[in-house]
Symmetry: C2
Subunit: 474 residues, 2 copies
Amino acid sequence: MNQQVREAQYAVRGELAIRSEELKNELVVGAKLPFKRVVGCNIGNPQALDQKPITFFRQVASLCEYPDLLKDENAEATARLFPSDAIARAKLLLKNIGSVGAYSHSQGIPHIRANVAKFISERDGHPADASKIYLTQGASAGVQLTLQMIVENSKVGIMIPIPQYPLYTATLAVLNAKAVPYYLDESKGWGLTAEELQRSYDDAAKKGVDTRALVIINPGNPTGQCLTEDNMREIIGFCSRNKVILLADEVYQTNIYQPKERPFHSFKKVLKSMGHSYNGFELISYHSISKGMVGECGRRGGYFECEGLCESVMEQIYKISSISLCPNVQGQIMVDLMVNPPKKDDPSYAQYKKEYDDIYFSLIKRSQLLVDTFNSLEGCTCNPADGAMYLFPQIRLPKRAIEAAKAAGKEPDHFYCMAMLEATGVCMVAGSGFGQVEGTAHFRSTFLPQPELFDGFCTGIRKFHSDFMNKYKD
Amino acid sequence: MNQQVREAQYAVRGELAIRSEELKNELVVGAKLPFKRVVGCNIGNPQALDQKPITFFRQVASLCEYPDLLKDENAEATARLFPSDAIARAKLLLKNIGSVGAYSHSQGIPHIRANVAKFISERDGHPADASKIYLTQGASAGVQLTLQMIVENSKVGIMIPIPQYPLYTATLAVLNAKAVPYYLDESKGWGLTAEELQRSYDDAAKKGVDTRALVIINPGNPTGQCLTEDNMREIIGFCSRNKVILLADEVYQTNIYQPKERPFHSFKKVLKSMGHSYNGFELISYHSISKGMVGECGRRGGYFECEGLCESVMEQIYKISSISLCPNVQGQIMVDLMVNPPKKDDPSYAQYKKEYDDIYFSLIKRSQLLVDTFNSLEGCTCNPADGAMYLFPQIRLPKRAIEAAKAAGKEPDHFYCMAMLEATGVCMVAGSGFGQVEGTAHFRSTFLPQPELFDGFCTGIRKFHSDFMNKYKD
């Protein structure tokens, strides 16, 4: 068996998640547990925690699935169930797609790529080119594909933040490439400096690692920080000086919780604002339908945009995409809807806006409630989230807890999370799965449980923590 | 850039397909070409050539997309548009899935895997286990994942048929593994012998290749042959003696055109019929929603079943699946529908049966019409298709055509297919993309153009071929 596969680790769906599945099954068959529902805070999966999908998006998807609804003989019944703009959009999409059951162009449906290009142009105030956009089965698939393109041999290194989203370490392990870690500074709100990037690059170079790319997750996962424009210019300067490709994971670009102090800027926009001397700078930016207020994870859709890559590399990306034939068409349709939602004066606009805003403002509120909860726990400190869907608190565990973890053969943070799962049904992920400064312990939690359950959720965590700390008091 | 990626070839979406896209775009902007429509016979993509999807399947998919249709207040309007069994199935699926917008279990939704296991058990008369089934984004994704598991280093070889479906050579090139070719015998209806398998294995062993698996495509792609039970027992014996894993690509299992003389048998069934001495035999079987009468290619759905793999390997397959989170849920729903279609006495049964049979019998007829057409062409011979969706005729081209191809820097079969595309709008794939005996020339064509256009399609090929042969007459 492939040894690299064996060595890859993916904590988000690791031992804790597997145990949480077992507990779910036990509840189904009526087992008596200290909780009534398993709450998966291990993964940003909003609709699994009952977040309602955007109605307009699902109406269009439903009509595209069953085009007979658009036939004249069904017009009256269909009009009772679907608004006119959903019907019009479905017709437009089907005209451009044909059937959702047919393979599309391997790079993605041209009409949808054109809409993505329009979205990016309007977002950034700089033109985007549909021929440089590749639709994918979620951002993860795009990241895996582009890393595979870049990794030429086992000396190639890719810079990744610590803590990071473990897609990166797992993919690099499978590709047998080197993960080159740079550290985010927890004491400065998970800040990032060009000095730390250079230290990381230089340390790797001394070990013979040939660093080819830098991954930035902005807003951060698991850390939630949102970069300032100045900081982004520094990062671009670093990449330019050291000739590394910038891989910008921007899937949380609409999960922005301090929009005035810390708005989202795309790397594309900042790069374009830096003038002609950066022409030819190589940037790949990823986006997804799984996050934001869309939250359509199960559909697997997303895109990446390439900037500054030469034509021959673009052809190779097309070829490698074509071996998997095409991204699933329903995922592509959702990309279209995400980048081109109802506009003011459209019949569905008011409902769309309300649904979107309700989710958005509730996420802000829930993120604050959870930060406060974590900061109220003995030995626990937590930076607030500028963006994304997660908090990454640090916990200082009693020595006796650390010893008990060692005796059980577990990392202390993992031991803590497992105890929480067994006591409360809440599944979080241990910080060791993301990487952390040696000797520290963290965990990652989403703040996605629904508003009506949120107080109970926070109370459960408080009670568990207090019991745990008492049990292992030094 | 990754050199293995550069070396991978995937002819099905290669130069001919790219040129056909250009021609399509030229037609859209009103260019005058010798044809009115580009006909993509390069890929088994039925719905792109106007094959109607199965109505019941799309009704269920549509309801799952927009569950508001199932609310009481919409019951009356919904009942006018959807039959009761589609409504019941959608409710059952949503009960087990939650939202189609949520990530599912990485291995696939348990309810759907249980239905797949039931389907396999009934098909084979031997029990199947849902825990050994992995739902995937099409069979291609399953093949890529399992090959990645098996390929440990660049000395590992995987036996593949020649001619083969280029997914295999492309994936092995990317993984930097050795393709170990065995030849199908065109003069015996693309037959396969255990002697040829052993020759192939032994030749590779002499070159230091460590052969770990054998790929069998049954029914064959591009060759259309369907294996007899005796032949399958020989193949299993070969694998057992040489300790290689059998990878059974069975995506065309319902595209069977001589059901009495050449019925489909799954490798699982044949293996189980061989008794206890084959316990522990390692088999992975792939299936897909893209082919058969379902033809839902764009949705990307399928599954593979593992037999005889040890627990630790199964855990690794789960882990590597989990890095990509989950297969898209709409693809999973279509797997459920494929393995559990309407039953006799269900309200939708009559329509389902008619739609299925219409496609099926029409495919038989179209395959015969196209075989006759190919066999009527000067210098062309073609085996009939026992199954699958393709014909793979051999053409003997005039010397002057071969010289013209050389002058143009093309393989002769590619040169022929390009001339056909430019003259008729019909896109086929040159045999060199699949592999063929040195010095021979073939091409692959689907027989998927719709019945009402089929005569014109065949006449166009005849006329082109005659013109081509006259132009390059020796």
